[in-house]
């Protein structure tokens, strides 16, 4: 399943890609931004950094049994410092549809097209 984030900045496109990915799992409007989780990634290029960011979020959701609904990204060269806000999975309220297994390198792309940043990849569900 493809996810694509758009933004005025690269960081915003990364945030939107994360929101698209979590929307595959559950309706993010139903997920309260109650608890913050910090994520750090580092990769040799933007594309691998995007995959790392998304995979780090999947990892945090899995081990914490949480869903996320809000994201903030700061980029500094090969490094990403991010925060994700969400809450513990509540099956009765969130009705989560499917786990995302991982962010792949398929259709993986980070670029600025006509002043709009795009961050996209295909995730395995």
């Amino acid at each position: 399943m493809g996810v694509r984030g758009f933004g005025a900045t690269k960081a915003e496109a990364f945030e939107q890609a994360a929101l698209a990915m979590t929307a595959i799992i559950a309706d993010t409007a139903a997920v309260r931004a109650a608890e913050a989780v910090t994520v750090h990634c580092e990769a040799p290029d933007d594309e691998l950094l995007l995959a790392d960011w998304l995979n780090s979020l999947l990892y945090e959701m899995a081990v914490r049994r949480m869903l996320f609904s809000r994201f903030e990204v700061r980029l500094d060269g090969p490094r990403l410092d991010g925060q994700a806000w969400g809450e513990a999975v509540d099956v009765a309220r969130h009705h989560p549809a499917v786990e995302v297994k991982g962010a792949t390198f398929t259709a993986l792309r980070v670029a600025c097209d006509d002043g709009v940043w795009v961050a996209q990849t295909v995730v395995d569900v």
């Binding site: 899995a62 081990v63 099956v91 009705h95 549809a97 991982g102 792949t104 390198f105 395995d124 569900v125």
Partner: protein, 476 residues
Amino acid sequence: MELQLFTRRSEYEWEIPRRDAMRVPGVIFASEALIRDMDHKVYEQTVNVACLPGIVTAAYAMPDAHWGYGFPIGGVAAFDPAEGGVVSAGGVGFDISCGVRCLNTGLTREDIAPVQKALADLLYRRIPAGVGSTGTIHLDAAEMDAMLTGGARWAVGRGWGTDADLERIEEHGRMRDARPDAVSPQAKKRQRDEMGTLGSGNHYLEVQAVTAVYDATLAETFGLRPGAVVVMIHCGSRGLGHQIGTEFLKRMAVAAAGLGIVLPDRELACAPIDSEVGREYLGAMRAGINCALANRQMLTHLVREVFAELLPAARLVLLYDVSHNTCKVETHIVDGRARRLFVHRKGATRAFGPGHPELPPALRAAGQPVLIGGSMGTSSYVLAGVESAETLAFSSACHGAGRAMSRHQAQRTWQGRQVVDALAARGILIRSPSQRGVAEEAPGAYKDVSAVVDAAEGAGLARKVARLEPLVCVKG
């Protein structure tokens, strides 16, 4: 796809002739109708796999092939380490050793009918399924490593099954040469609470009845008489496998250039079998296989407990357990010579023919059971391995139907409640924590599994034994 892209070798065999950087040809097994409907990406990805170092004979795609990540799903490729062959994390997939197991129950659909609803409800209560679910067993570090080394043997040692189960599992329940030390702490942490869980998406547990028999002798050997009831479990290595796949995909992509590998596409990330990252991946991937085997064994134990409560006459005997996302070391005859090859099957089932020494004595004359999963309203099939598959595709066959429609499109087309009600009217009881998940997995979102199975048989990859229809389905 356009038929002129191929040289037609036979009714069900389509060759992509070797050209440019391809080291071997590509071969897709399909009927004309299936190949016309197949995504063009299957062609591109089969060509890309044919370019990888050390590939032997051909890059294959099964009749259910569809667009995957690097390798097509339904892809089979064998590599020779003596010729610089590679191992690919993408060639195995994120859900390492995802697979299917089938349990005979000794019951008929008439036995099930009076308790069908109670059975559906109790299975749903006892089988942890869906996002965020956890098992009842939580592993400490030592037990985690024991599980990763021991697979289903570890689970049986803990009391979740019998020794008789083990001979009905590929690798006799335990993948050798697993390396828990090559599995990251993150992967182990992700798995700590997920043992004995079904997962979500296309994973399921079904109670099914045999509705057609195509080969009476083989069906008798497999315990699949008309009306016989079986339990089919489809799931994999859960969070541990996903994390191993994620980590090694990146490591291989970053390391490729330094290892002298030119990738036609980054998603083909791979490493020489005889390299540090290659060896570590193989060790970790084998630990992932053991995790999946242990997980399916633990789920089997839960199912047996449920049947013991509701249907004490049932005797749940494992017919077979197959994995369809793996890389395994196997000996195959190539040009008259036995060669030790690393065979990737991604969304493809090993299908050893009659007489293969890996098969348990009771199944050796019949050939390996090949379990083809449907889902909810669609049929499942049991096939048997045949000798011809050895020369056609390193003894491999298809694994399922494959999606015909995206999840998004399915969600817009159906509502979960409608799907559940429509199937209930057909006598199929669905239990799932997510109505949206049910809509995304609606039977109409999948290709016609019967066409796939017919093509597999027509191509000589496997022989049809029986068709099964669901009575109860627990979806994650």
